[in-house]
């Protein structure tokens, strides 16, 4: 009994129309790293928000027992006082404020409300060193990439010196290298007696560090198992309720003509006009192939995609040919009209209008196809939205649902639906499966395959090496704004990709 630091018993939590948690029981032993896994929308994040007081007592039923004591958290502060620290799936940082200010937000070094800034920045630097993020704590968050922001979040959680640390998909935006760092850090913390709940869709990480695994499906507990009794396939079948024979549905593709050719592509920083972010990039993408682009965080992959798509603020030089014709893309509209589409890495900020429904989001990039004289045929719009909702198996009560109410995976599918509707020739996918469960990933891979079969050329930017290796027909590796190597899939191995990505020649 007493070796459980946390017992959550018979937790039920309902949202209007959705029973997110249904009698969930979840127990964590002291000093272990406990993985919580499940498909998108299984209720993992909700369970943790119940625990941390985001959803206060009274909005759910069931009991929370922490170190033998029943707890009724009214708010986040109370759970922090009880020794719980949590990193939420959505980044919770104030962009206009500095890294140091964010780390101690809500827990300032203060005396009677007056903050000691010098002390704050010194301490902040310590925690940044701990997560191996080498930046000035006075830097504003808005100057950081999404991966760096994730590390700041982790530093913030560690700074709370909690004895129960919860991480909700912390590595979704991290590279292999940073992930390694983080996992090592968790193991160190475990050695210091910190208990950890770890939520991730990356099962290899789960098996690397976790002692126990609890599986949720559709808001119910499927079971809790010691990690050594499980393997990845078993977890997956428990998660999705059926066997998945393979993770990456590779299909043989026969690449056709060159669709996209980029020559001497150089992109400058919008704020420092003489600083190159990309220099002299050359590549081609062929009809009916998946071109994978790998690289470490900050290698410039997103800038490459954004600049090709006409959405990057900085100066660009170089040439771009679509189906052999030189094209000048100066805005996303131009790009879409030419058949070049881009799915961004941050669906909430750049992908969706959260207060609009699924239907309107899907039709947004290609409204003209539903129009005569700029007047929308709403019946056609419904029909199109229905088609993509069914094709992509978007889980929703209706296509009138606001996208803000969908789970992350389903949101990603809505964005994908939007770009499919724009019928692209070249589709650039930037981290297409970020924060998406294995089942949904598999579906997305299948969609990619069928697109390629239809002759679409896919460029896939990803920080997940297995995905790059598992799906690409050809892999390009970027390092500091340059193309540092190209490998056909048969020759691409984890070691080679990392070698190039870290600057090896």
């Amino acid at each position: 009994m007493s070796d459980y630091i946390l017992e959550m018993v018979n937790i039920t939590k309902e949202f209007p129309g959705v029973k997110a948690l249904d009698n969930v029981t979840f127990k964590v032993k002291k000093g272990e790293i406990h993985a919580l896994v499940g498909e998108n929308g299984a209720g993992k994040s909700t369970l943790m928000k119940v625990l941390s007081g985001v959803y206060p007592t009274g909005t759910y039923t069931g009991d929370i027992v922490l170190k033998g004591q029943t707890q009724h958290f009214q708010n986040i502060k109370e759970s922090e006082h009880a020794g719980i620290a949590i990193i939420y799936q959505e980044l919770a940082l104030v962009k206009q404020m500095s890294v140091g200010e964010n780390i101690f937000l809500g827990n300032e070094f203060q005396e009677r409300g007056i903050i000691d800034w010098d002390q704050s920045y010194i301490e902040a630097k310590k925690y940044l060193d701990e997560v191996r993020l080498d930046i000035n704590p006075a830097t504003k968050i808005l100057h950081l990439g999404i991966g760096q922001q994730q590390l700041v979040e982790i530093a913030k959680a560690i700074s709370k010196k909690a004895n129960l640390l919860i991480l909700d998909e912390p590595t979704a935006a991290l590279t292999e290298h940073e992930t390694d760092n983080l996992l090592n850090l968790l193991v160190e913390l475990k050695a210091k007696g910190v208990t950890c709940i770890y939520i991730s869709h990356k099962l290899n990480e789960v098996f690397r560090i976790c002692d126990t695994v609890t599986i949720l499906r559709d808001g119910k507990t499927i079971g809790t198992y010691p990690a050594q009794e499980l393997n990845e396939d078993r977890v997956i079948s428990l998660m999705v309720g059926r066997e998945l024979t393979q993770r990456f549905p590779r299909k043989p593709h026969t690449p056709g003509d060159v669709v996209l050719e980029v020559k001497n592509w150089t992109v400058y920083n919008p704020e420092i006009p003489d600083k190159k972010i990309l220099s002299n990039v050359n590549f081609t993408a062929r009809k009916g192939e998946i071109l994978g682009i790998a690289g470490l965080m900050g290698a410039g992959r997103t800038e490459l995609a954004m600049s090709l798509f006409g959405a990057y603020a900085g100066k660009r030089t170089g040439e771009m040919f679509l189906e052999g014709k030189p094209v000048d893309v100066t805005s996303p509209r131009d790009a879409i009209n030419q058949g070049l589409c881009y799915l961004s890495e941050d669906r909430k900020q750049y992908g969706l209008v959260l207060m609009m429904d699924i239907k309107n989001n899907i039709s947004m990039a290609n409204l003209s196809s539903l129009c005569t004289n700029n007047i929308i045929n709403s019946n056609e719009e419904v029909r199109a939205a229905e088609r993509y909702t069914n094709d992509l198996k978007i889980k929703t009560p209706s296509i009138e649902q606001k996208t803000g109410n969908l789970s992350g995976g389903n949101q990603q599918k809505v964005v994908l639906g939007k770009w499919l509707m724009a019928s692209p020739k070249v589709l650039i996918l930037d981290e297409p499966t970020r924060g998406i469960d294995v089942g949904a990933k598999f579906e997305i891979y299948n969609i990619m395959n069928s697109l390629v079969d239809q002759g679409v050329s896919i460029i896939m930017i990803s920080s997940e090496l297995p995905e790059i290796l598992g799906m690409s027909d050809r892999v390009i590796v970027m390092h500091e704004g340059k193309f540092n190597g190209e490998l056909p899939w048969e020759e691409a191995t984890q070691e080679k990709v990392i070698f190039y990505a870290t600057g090896g020649q």
Binding site: R333, Y350, M355, M364, I376, S378, N379, V382, S398, E400
Partner: protein, 408 residues
């Protein structure tokens, strides 16, 4: 107006018999904000109707009330566009006053006829709209600032244009825009206005035809539709409501031109917001500007268009106001911007952008005008008039927020 409730019905082609209750409940939820305000409006009418011994709800007073609301309603209609896109326009009050004065100067001092005056004034409105649009869309200055600057500027400009004097009178044709009623054509001695009656019948028939065609088209696409009986009940209820409102005017002096103009503008703007790509872009920009940009929407062009429309609509509102007073005065338009913004907000437009409907804004304008009218009719003290208006605004929005939270 009714088209709005229909589009939002849940659709489920795979299953052709969803429960009727579910459809009704869901349609109610989707439009809860408008229904709340509609109920509030009816509540205000009933209240003043009772304490005024029925005078408030007499055909004559309601007809007055609509006319008193019309300037703000016109401004609120286009303010919805501006606010949905995430902007605000603080200049509409002084600009409407200025443009009303421009119209008066063109007519009285320059001696232009009605049509040239209207065209030139709308042109000036358009130019101001382009000026606003330029700064907002192409120079990235927040609309709050751009229009605050204009608000100041036109407060000064109106003095320059009128030289401080009231300019009157306008030509009869122009005056009719604000004060005239549709003339009786065939039955000059009937106790009702025949032309207005005919137009009212046309309105109702048009509604029936559109509603029916919509149903047919949905059936053709294989979408769920209401069972025929329910659809007919719904149609009859809406027709009766339309007939009731129109008959108020028909039995008084007829439909005023200004109301006809307003109905036209509301239908037009409802259509623009719901059925056109431009309208959709406005909502997308207000909802998430970055996502809209990356979806290929030309944000600058859309913003520019919004402000151009706002400029022209402000010109129309200014002219209706001048026509109604049959004079242009230097204080005209004072604080109209706040009334128009309040009307839009009461009608469900979000101050953060992304949400709002034209029909809602009209209901909002009617709510505030009804309060003004009712309290003035009852000769309440000005102190309480202000306070009651403030409290009603606050409570209306709060009730709405509370019910939305419950039913979301």
């Amino acid at each position: 107006m009714a088209s709005n409730t229909q589009t939002n019905l849940p659709i489920n082609p795979t299953n052709n018999t969803p429960s009727i209750k579910k459809i009704l409940v869901s349609s109610l939820k989707q439009n809860i904000r408008q229904y709340t305000m509609l109920i509030a409006l009816i509540g205000i009418w009933v209240f003043f109707g009772i304490i005024s011994d029925g005078i408030f709800v007499s055909a004559r007073n309601l007809s007055n009330l609509f006319l008193q609301a019309v300037t703000i309603a016109i401004l609120a209609t286009s303010m919805v566009l501006v606010m949905v896109a995430g902007h605000i326009d603080l200049s509409v009050g002084s600009l409407a006053g200025f443009l009303g004065a421009v119209a008066a100067v063109l007519m009285v001092k320059v001696g232009l006829g009605t049509i040239p005056t209207i065209i030139l004034t709308m042109l000036v409105g358009l130019i101001v709209g382009i000026w606003h649009g330029y700064w907002v869309a192409y120079r990235g200055v927040p609309a709050f600032i751009v229009t605050l600057a204009s608000m100041m500027g036109f407060k000064g400009a109106i003095i320059g244009v009128t030289k401080g004097a009231t300019i009157a009178p306008m030509l009869p044709a122009f005056k009719a825009i604000g004060q005239g009623y549709l003339p009786k054509l065939f039955l000059p001695h009937a106790s009702f206005n025949d032309t207005s009656a005919i137009i009212s019948v046309i309105f109702i028939l048009l509604f029936i035809i559109f509603d029916w065609r919509k149903r047919q088209s949905r059936i053709k696409y294989g979408f769920t539709v209401l069972p025929l009986s329910l659809q007919l009940i719904r149609m009859v209820v809406i027709c009766i409501a339309m007939a009731a409102v129109l008959s108020i005017m028909v039995t008084y002096m007829g439909i005023p031109y200004a109301i006809l103009l307003l109905i036209g503008l509301v239908v037009l703007f409802s259509f623009i917001t719901e059925k056109t790509t431009f309208g959709r872009y406005v909502y997308a920009i207000g909802g998430n500007k970055e996502a809209a940009r990356l979806s290929g929407i030309n944000i600058r062009k859309t913003n520019m268009t919004i402000f151009m429309i706002m400029g022209v609509m402000t010109a129309i509102a200014g002219m209706v106001f001048t026509a109604r007073l049959n004079a242009a005065t230097t204080a005209a338009g004072n604080l109209f911007e706040l009334d128009a913004i309040a009307a839009a907000i009461i009608g469900g437009t979000s101050t953060m952008g992304g949400e709002g409907t034209v029909v809602g804004a009209i209901i909002g304008a009617l709510v505030t005008s009804s309060l003004d009218n009712g309290m003035s009719l009852m000769d309440w003290d000005i102190t309480y008039q202000y306070i009651v208006k403030g409290l009603v605004l606050l409570l209306a929005v709060w009730v709405d927020i509370a019910t939305r939270k419950k039913s979301a």
